[in-house]
Symmetry: C2
Subunit: 127 residues, 2 copies
């Protein structure tokens, strides 16, 4: 019974699935990664989050803000100035995310070796 918990928790936990997708999704993870470095304005983020479009960055930031991971600080000046930064919750999440990323990064030699073994096994099967 107990060994089902860890899995069930994210296979069925629908509300958290949505948040998890915001966190681990392509733009979500990159945005959290960028904000882990500090506070940035919208267009600074656009430059940091390589390849993101205006639309997707806006959409991503809304999702993360709504989930309480990112704080949006809009200063009532002209021209507008809006700063984004992680909330304490966002920082905790980003920390774990960066930990996962760092682990995978550090193990890429193993991954690359596995890929080569896999590909050569396929190219010349059974030998």
């Amino acid at each position: 019974m107990t060994d089902d918990l860890a899995f069930d928790v994210f296979a069925r936990g629908c509300a958290s699935r949505v948040t998890l997708e915001h966190v681990t999704g392509r733009w979500g993870s990159l945005t959290l990664g960028a904000l882990y470095e500090g506070s940035f304005r919208f267009n600074e983020l656009r430059r940091r989050v390589d390849g993101v479009s205006e639309k997707m960055l806006a959409q991503t930031l809304h999702a993360l803000e709504r989930d309480g991971l990112v704080h949006r600080d809009a200063q009532p000046v002209n021209p507008p100035r809006v700063d984004y930064r992680l909330t304490p919750l966002g920082r905790d999440v980003a920390e774990r995310l960066v930990g996962l990323i760092t682990l995978v990064e550090g193990r890429m030699p193993e991954v690359v070796a596995a890929r080569e073994a896999y590909d050569s096994g396929r190219a010349a099967p059974a030998g």
Copy 2:
């Protein structure tokens, strides 16, 4: 300078980006989560990974196997029997993934509260 490292590492590290997407993607994360519980056959996994199609499970397992995260054990019997389980590398990655998931799961009350605050702020702005 040093504060750029953690971010650059995954913004630009293309090879790892691909692996990261396998790990954090919808079916990849669920499959790793399932295999974190133990070893399973193809159709057992289909039942455990809720909502996955044959095609996507096959595709996901290939990617994870090629990355060296999952081991495929095909026994030469009839009818065929194939067991999938995590490699040591896969286990390390799944551990961090489950850690991230567990963190988000545990903090969902905060997320839900943030959403309610966000939504009511939108419904009745400035108040």
